[in-house]
């Protein structure tokens, strides 16, 4: 029996939040029904319970706004204009998107609501909806609102990037709801880079000396084929020497001397001593040819340092690299042009997921 009581208690704790919300929702629904039946007194009684500080159950922001709106509407039906305006203002202050459907509410109610709008100033932006947008043919849509005529400044800027990059989407006088489209480009025409963005709405009332701001955040990502890296610049090891160095010229001379010395060594030292030297005249003739050739080579390379074949080969390699990079750049531009923007709502400033 004791265990059963404990289990019931635990179950009650687990379902408590849902029950609390349901209680508020049920009460609001019942109030709506009374309102529809023009049982204004009962509707007011229930709605006042919802907005009362003593109401024991959880009330969401939407439920509270709804309660204030219907309180205003009910009081307007009762002819209590000032109180109706007060509650309409409370609703507008909490949610600037609050509105009355002209098909459902009376002209008197609509008039009082309009009065509340003029007395209250607030701006709001709807959370950005998730989706995929092809910037070539589609637009990212933002919905903002001001309760009455105001100078609106709607700006999109990156978060966590220094210096911040951004674009002004709207800067003009506006009233009520406004849809603002964004093509995904920055002011300089480049596609906005991936990252977290802030949509800042700042409004200056045209009727009252007051202002209001609001923010909403979203993450922007790219969906496209990976871009190719361009080829790096040709390094020293990838280019031929375009001029003969002093060391190379001396090296030629040393090689020629090596041939001359080799010929003399062979004829004088590698022969059999008993047979005598092998054609010493011939070996010295070759040595002479080698020395003359080496000397001419040394002098020639000192005077003609340019290596036209190497210059041409280097130019060919550079042109080849440039052409390859051009092709890579073209392919990348085609991929960038096909980029699809992936929009995801975000909670606030923070590291993107």
């Amino acid at each position: 029996m004791r265990r059963l009581a404990l289990g019931l208690g635990l179950a009650a704790l687990l379902v408590a939040p849902a029950t609390a919300q349901n209680s508020t929702a049920e009460l609001l629904q019942q109030a709506h029904q009374y309102y529809e039946q023009v049982d204004v007194e009962r509707a007011l009684l229930l709605l006042r319970q919802v907005v009362s500080p003593g109401w024991p159950f959880e009330v969401t922001a939407e439920q509270r706004v709804d309660a204030y709106k219907y309180l205003g509407a009910a009081l307007a039906l009762r002819g209590r204009a000032d109180s109706a305006v007060l509650y309409f203002r409370a609703a507008l202050e909490r949610d600037a998107f609050t509105d009355l459907d002209p098909a459902t509410f009376t002209p008197a109610q609509l008039g009082l609501f309009a009065q509340a709008r003029r007395l209250t100033f607030a701006v709001a932006a709807r959370p950005v909806s998730a989706g995929r947008v092809d910037p070539r043919s589609e637009r990212v849509s933002f919905t903002v609102v001001s309760t009455h005529t105001a100078t609106l400044d709607v700006r999109l800027s990156s978060v966590g990037v220094l210096p911040p990059i951004g674009v002004t989407l709207f800067a003009a006088v506006s009233e009520g709801l406004r849809e603002i489209d964004w093509n995904g480009l920055l002011a300089d025409g480049r596609l906005a880079p991936p990252g977290r963005y802030e949509l800042l709405v700042a409004g200056q009332s045209r009727l009252r000396s007051t202002w209001d701001t609001t923010w909403t955040y979203f993450d922007l990502a790219y969906d496209r084929e990976p871009l190719e890296d361009t080829l790096p610049a040709l390094g020293p090891g990838q280019l031929l020497a375009e001029q003969v160095s002093d060391a190379a010229a001396r090296g030629d001379l040393v090689k020629a001397l090596g041939v001359a010395a080799g010929a003399v060594l062979i004829s004088d030292r590698l022969t059999n001593h008993d047979l005598g030297r092998g054609m010493p005249t011939a070996s010295r003739a070759l040595a002479g040819v080698a020395l003359v050739t080496g000397g001419i080579s040394f002098a020639y390379r000192h005077r003609h340092r340019d290596l036209p074949e190497n210059v041409a080969e280097n130019a060919r390699r550079r042109a080849e690299r440039s052409a390859a990079n051009g092709a890579i750049t073209r392919r990348n531009q085609e991929r960038i042009a096909r980029t699809v923007l992936v929009i995801t709502p975000a909670a606030g400033i923070g590291s993107p997921p």
């Binding site: 003969v244 090296g251 030629d252 090689k255 020629a256 090596g258 041939v259 080799g262 010929a263 062979i266 004829s267 590698l270 022969t271 059999n272 008993d274 047979l275 005598g276 092998g278 054609m279 011939a282 070996s283 003739a285 070759l286 040819v289 080698a290 050739t293 080496g294 080579s297 020639y300 390379r301 290596l307 074949e309 190497n310």
Partner: protein, 207 residues
């Protein structure tokens, strides 16, 4: 043997042929145990090479010469030679070769045949931006079969020279030496030595 060691060109194409002609000044020194005999004279010949791939070269050569006795008592000799060689390029400027050579010295009285096997290495160093090459080579002759003689104790060939590249052709000049020290027989030791200065021109064909 100076024909065997004539200048060759590294292969760079998939298949390429090369035809060459050479002329050489040759000196033969022989000490049969009774004093040094010296012969010298010209020799001419031809050569055909085939490059297979980028590493292998196969060559055949023929040569013919006439050696005049420069010391009293010895008869003049005619010299004929045919050889075949395979060469593989082991790296930049370095190659290894193996070849066989058949040579004949002929006089009015007799003919002496030499059959040799040579294992050699050749190094090339470019200069003047590759327009010329310095050449050095050496080879051991592990098999030297001469009719009427034993196998020599010492047998090698060495050479050095220059090669000039002129378009599709090359011109080379090489000094070379072959040395044969035969073992003593009946207290008599035979020595032979062939020196040559060879000028060779070659022309490349094919890809």
């Amino acid at each position: 043997m100076f024909v065997c060691s004539a200048v060759t060109t590294p292969a760079t194409a998939q298949r390429r042929f090369e035809a060459a002609a050479f002329v050489a000044a040759v000196e033969l020194r022989v000490d049969p145990g009774s004093g040094v005999e010296r012969f010298s004279g010209p020799m001419i010949g031809g050569e055909a090479l085939m490059n297979v791939g980028t590493r292998w070269v196969f060559a055949v050569r023929v040569g013919d010469g006439s050696l005049t006795a420069r010391t009293p008592g010895g008869p003049n000799r005619d010299l004929g030679e045919v050889s075949a060689e395979g060469r593989v390029h082991a790296g930049t400027g370095l190659s290894f070769s193996a070849g066989v050579c058949r040579r004949a010295y002929s006089t009015e009285l007799a003919r002496q045949r030499w059959n040799t096997l040579q294992l050699g290495v050749e190094g090339r160093l470019p200069f003047l931006g590759g327009a010329m090459q310095a050449v050095a080579r050496g080879a051991l002759l592990p098999v030297v079969a001469v009719n009427g003689l034993d196998h020599p104790k010492t047998a090698y060939s060495v050479g050095t020279g220059l090669e000039y590249r002129l378009g599709q052709g090359t011109v080379g000049i090489v000094y070379s030496l072959e040395r044969y020290d035969f073992p003593a027989r009946a207290m008599v030791r035979r020595l032979e030595q062939v020196s040559a200065l060879t000028v060779r021109g070659a022309l490349r064909f094919g890809r």
